[in-house]
Symmetry: C2
Subunit: 408 residues, 2 copies
């Protein structure tokens, strides 16, 4: 008998029919002798519908009230799931994030989980119930205000709850079969990975693999909770995210990200403190800077380029232009037609020459590299946005990420 946390995303609970399918799976898991905690997102487009309602009311929704509004989404799906599980003859009880003891910071719209006081969840489990918890939401225990966790918040709820409860596994049910060696919509022979390490998954998530957000992987890594990413449409095994993998692959997969834009500040006087002058105000404005490249200084001036989410580009431009004039730079360029391609693999640490091989594969396809950034287990290149498919395909071909051992 195990304690299993199962997380179902918006697509998995997107209709009454799908909720019944989820209920059947939860009931089966429970009847197999497991304790089950279920974390749900809002139904299908539920959150987007609520956001649209708010923007019909005001162009600037008050953040506290936006959280109050959005948390209605999971409330609806969790109650419907609890009813459906009851209908399967399994006692069930839904809890809001606040009731489940998900304690967060006070930042409305992007709160962080600080602690979980899951005694109501444990009581429910002790009573033999399946406990359904609203994902994506919590409560700031000081002000007693309802908060939401921002993008990927339901996954974070699930993994953090699994950690707090000491669960044996956190299962993330999604509309894909698992984590792939590349985006299957782009690469025909992309293969599902049977396993991937936390570190690799963190890098893949940061490099654009949307299936699991970095924050939930980080919870798994810190508390050593195995995460099983799997399909909500069939019973097949998905991808296990865990500490050690059977085989340390040199290249686990190819990831890409077209959601960023590049800002270049030209003609920056090359003196101490100038980078801090640029990036401190961006951080204060909540702009999430990803890659940063500074050219070699020529005649005392340099260029600094960085990438930010396209959604933040207007704020980033304003700040960069103001700073450029303050620090005496020549000007600011914005380029939204870029994409990032990355190779990720834990074996890269002990293997030389991967970066140069990567640059060769891209240059063989006439793909120009505009920025480069590396970690011990990842190499990322920024290329033209129009080159991204060719880049991903040629890298997947060129490096042939191994099938998982079980499949060989």
């Amino acid at each position: 008998m195990a304690l299993i946390v199962q997380k179902y995303g918006g697509t998995s609970v997107g209709s009454a029919e799908r909720i019944k399918t989820v209920a059947q799976r939860v009931a089966d898991t429970h009847e197999a002798g497991n304790d089950v905690v279920v974390v749900v997102s809002a139904m299908g487009q539920g959150t987007d519908d609520l956001i649209a309602l708010a923007s019909d009311v005001t162009p600037n929704p008050y953040p506290r009230e936006m959280d109050m509004l959005l948390t209605a989404g999971e409330r609806i799906s969790m109650a419907l799931c609890a009813m459906a599980i009851h209908d399967q003859g399994v006692p069930a009880m839904s809890l809001t994030g606040s009731q489940a003891g998900i304690l967060t910071t006070s930042v409305h719209g992007s709160a962080e989980i600080m602690d979980i006081r899951a005694h109501r969840v444990r009581e429910g489990l002790d009573d033999g119930k399946v406990v359904i918890v609203a994902g994506f939401q919590g409560v700031d225990p000081v002000a007693k205000e309802i908060t939401t966790l921002g993008r990927g918040g339901s996954d974070a709820t699930a993994v953090a709850l699994a950690a707090a409860l000491g669960a044996d596994v956190c299962e993330i049910f999604t509309d894909v079969d698992g984590v792939f060696t590349a985006d299957p919509r782009m690469v025909d022979d992309a293969r599902k990975l049977d396993e991937v390490s936390y570190e690799e998954m963190l890098e893949l998530a940061g490099a654009g693999a949307g299936v699991l957000m970095a924050r939930s992987v980080e919870f798994g890594r810190r508390y050593k909770i195995p995460i099983h990413v799997r399909s909500s449409f069939h019973d097949g095994e998905g991808t296990w995210v865990k500490e050690e993998t059977m085989e340390e692959a040199i290249i686990r997969g190819v990831a890409h990200d077209s959601s960023e834009a590049k800002v270049t500040v030209h003609g920056v006087p090359d003196k101490p403190g100038v980078a801090a002058d640029i990036f401190e105000p961006l951080a204060e404005a909540g702009v999430n800077v990803d890659m940063i490249v500074q050219n070699v200084s020529i005649a005392g001036v340099t260029d600094i380029s960085f990438t930010v989410p396209k959604a933040s580009i207007d704020r980033a431009r304003q700040i960069a232009e103001r700073l450029a004039s303050e620090i005496g730079a020549v000007g600011v360029d914005i380029d939204t037609n870029i994409a990032k391609v990355s190779l990720v693999g834990a074996g890269m640490k002990s293997e030389l020459g991967i970066a140069s091989q990567m640059f060769r594969v891209l240059s063989d396809r006439q793909i120009n590299i505009e920025m480069i950034s590396t970690s011990p287990i990842r190499i990322s290149c920024v290329v033209r946005g129009t080159d991204v498919e060719a880049a991903v395909r040629s890298l997947h071909d060129g490096f042939q990420p191994p099938s998982s051992p079980e499949e060989e």
Copy 2:
């Protein structure tokens, strides 16, 4: 400066545009120097939509989860209202029933308000904020479970909150202009009443006037909170429900109710305890019995008729048929084609002959009376359902409820 509780129903907050209109009115009331507490229902058909969702998932929604589900409706409208009021430059804060301290019994779906611990509402008011409270919902403080108050629950929230806060007035905004001398859809010259006493309003509500439920009137009566029923579409005065009216009318209005059905148990042996045998099981099954008539006993047997909501007729029939066979009655008849017409007026107490006049008016129109029940300030007759419009019109004509003094 006054403390005003304003309640807006589903129609009043039925769209983004209407929510903005509500926000404007609330802001105006606040800027006129008043403290304002706003109670809102779910948007338009929001509650019905959620009920439909639940019935897509299961024919028997678990009551606890049904309450969890339905309370999402007011959560959405209260957050949107708070945003819209903010947009008017007025600080505002929404609170769920639980956050507002609406403590109820534990009966899911039809909980009763037991107490209100409104310190968060008071804190908000002390901070100069408009406080928006979700209607229709509360929390069972023992089990910490979310409850709903059942039909008319948002009005009850508003009046009970007004009582707890010692408000100067509770304004119920609705899609009609106030309380009328008869249903204006049925009687062309029905007139809006400027005022009506709590007792009269209780009788009118019980007799089918849908504008205000008896439970909220009872809160107003007990704590002497003036209730102002008024239109959400214009600024005109509505109807004041209060302790003393300017003029004690003999007939304040004509009400009707087509929502009930009649059950007749034939050939009941006329012995002590037989009525209790019938009505105890109905009460235990939660069937709300309205009128009861027992005929004069002939040869030791009698007929007992009673009315129940049509929604409960299947349960009532089952119970009646089981009991009929247990107590040796002849049989059970169900009649769903009935309606109740009532005359209500506090002046009736000191006026003789109203009942006989009423019977005469109906018989002049060839309308047969099937059951009669009276209170000191009300006379109700059950007639054929198809006769209800003629009955209401002839009684309104025959008794001419007075215009309110201000209008004369």
